[in-house]
Every structure is written in structure tokens, then in C-alpha cells.
Amino acid sequence: MNPMDDVFVDLPPPPGGLRRLRSRLDRRRRWQAPALALAAAAVLLTLALPPQAPPPDLSPLLSTPSSPISVLPAAAGRLAVSEIETGTPELVHYRVAGVVSAPD
């Protein structure tokens, strides 16, 4: 035999190749369907959730007011103002409420 023929000897693959390929494709198909369903459900869930509102802009509250806060003179005697502690020196909350006069 020519030594070159030894290099190019035609080897048969192990038997059962097509059967193994079919079972691999079946396995893929079996887990692919649930995986696709799961991915689709995740997308739908994301789309169904209400859009998150952007957080309110609090920066104006943190700036120092240019003039002292005052209650409109016209409302004097009809409004009560009380200061609420916030723990932040730059931020002061005021509670404003109408004054109900007690019956005589």
C-alpha cells in the first residue's frame, strides 16, 4: 500500500450519528419553547408595569428664600402657621391651616 494512502485512509464515523443528532435537536426544541415563553412573559410584564414617575424636584426647597416668609396680611387672624422640624437646617416646613373661630 502506498504510504500516501495511509494518510488518506477513509474512516467510518461511529454508528448512530443521525439518531444522536435527532435527539439533540429534540432536546433543544423541548427547552427552547419554555425559555421563549418565559422571555415573552418577562417582556409583557415589563410593558404592563406602569411607568415610574420621576422624583419631584426638591431643589427650590433647599435654596434660601430671598425674603422672610409672611402670611398675607389679608389673611391675618384667619390663618395659623406653625414650623415643623425637618432635621435639615436649610429646609424648613410650615404647616398653614385655617383658623376656625369657636362658637360663643
Binding site: 504510504p3 500516501m4 495511509d6 494518510v7 488518506f8 485512509v9 477513509d10 474512516l11 467510518p12 464515523p13 461511529p14 450519528g17 443521525l18 444522536r20 443528532l21 435527532r22 439533540r24 435537536l25 433543544r28
Partner: protein, 178 residues
């Protein structure tokens, strides 16, 4: 009249029956090419399977007429990776040297199989892939060029160089040692 095939100019759909027909036709030649990269019956068979699974995953983008060079391209890439991985594992002592396939051992004596293997191993990767595809695949030079991303003319010149080197390697192996 009932139409049985796709309309002229419309590519045939790539369904599982066609994949299986292609597999039946190409399993043996692809196996022979890949075996001479990894030198392991088990690895070569696994790579052939994996190449066809990957082709199946790409079926929406592949035309049946161009699938053949693509199968070889995928298989060669997988074989290269597996070979490097095996060499690394052998180097660090995790794997032992592979043994010849049962069929190879049945056809050739251990000495002849070793000489043939050494001759193929003496080739650099770019010559080996061309030589093996030219011999086993039945692809034209143009298709081999497509599979390996090289010009058609380079295929021919690499094939000639590879055969000369193989011949020289075999002659050297058969020279009486003095």
C-alpha cells in the same frame, strides 16, 4: 396541477428533513477532516454533531445551496478550538495522548498509523485544512476558498505545497536509519 417544489428562484426551505439529508451525506467526510485535527474518535464525532446543530440554529440565514462549505467552516473552527484545548490539557497533565480510532487501528498497523499521523501533524494549520478539504470534502476550489476565506488560487497552491511536504515527511520516515 399540484406544485411539489419551491417556485423557480425561491430558495428551498431549510427544514429538519433537509438537514438530516445533508447530515447523512456529509457526516463521513466531515468526520474524516475533523478527525485529522483532533485525533480522537469521540471528539471528532461530537464536533460533527455540534457543527450541524449550529447550522440548524442559523437556518433562517442559510441557503441550502451554500450550506455545505459552511458546515466545513463551522466544523474546522470547532476542531481548532478543541485541539488547542486538548493540547493545553495534555500540557498541564489533565489529559493523556489520544489513541487512534478503532477503525483506524483496524485498517492500519500502529506503526503505519503513527507515520501517517506524524506526516499530517507536520503541516501547519493553513496547509492541513486545505489538503484535507481538497481530499475529503468534494468541494470545488472556489467553495474551499469560501469555507476558509482565502482566494481560489491560494487553495490550489496550498494544496500542492501540502502534498509535497507530506510526501517528503513520509519519505523521511521510511528512510533506513543508519
Amino acid at each position: 396541477m399540484k406544485q411539489t417544489g419551491p417556485a423557480p428562484g425561491v430558495p428551498a426551505p431549510f427544514d429538519q428533513a433537509r438537514l438530516e439529508a445533508l447530515y447523512t451525506r456529509l457526516e463521513r467526510p466531515v468526520y474524516n477532516v475533523v478527525y485529522r485535527w483532533v485525533w480522537s474518535e469521540e471528539d471528532a464525532a461530537e464536533i460533527v454533531q455540534e457543527a450541524f446543530v449550529r447550522l440548524w440554529m442559523m437556518r433562517d440565514r442559510v441557503r441550502l445551496e451554500t450550506a455545505k462549505p459552511l458546515v466545513y467552516r463551522i466544523a474546522l473552527n470547532l476542531a481548532r478550538k478543541r485541539r488547542r484545548w486538548r493540547r493545553l490539557r495534555t500540557f498541564v497533565g489533565l489529559d493523556e495522548q489520544t489513541t487512534p480510532a478503532h477503525a483506524e487501528a483496524a485498517l492500519l498497523s500502529a506503526e503505519r498509523a503513527a507515520t501517517a499521523r506524524q506526516a499530517v501533524e507536520s503541516l501547519p494549520e493553513e496547509l492541513r485544512s486545505v489538503m484535507l478539504l481538497c481530499h475529503y470534502s468534494g468541494l470545488s476550489y472556489r467553495e474551499i476558498g469560501e469555507a476558509l476565506s482565502i482566494p481560489e488560487g491560494t487553495v490550489a497552491s496550498r494544496r500542492n505545497t501540502a502534498l509535497k511536504r507530506i510526501q517528503a515527511s513520509l519519505e523521511e520516515a521510511h528512510e533506513p536509519h543508519g
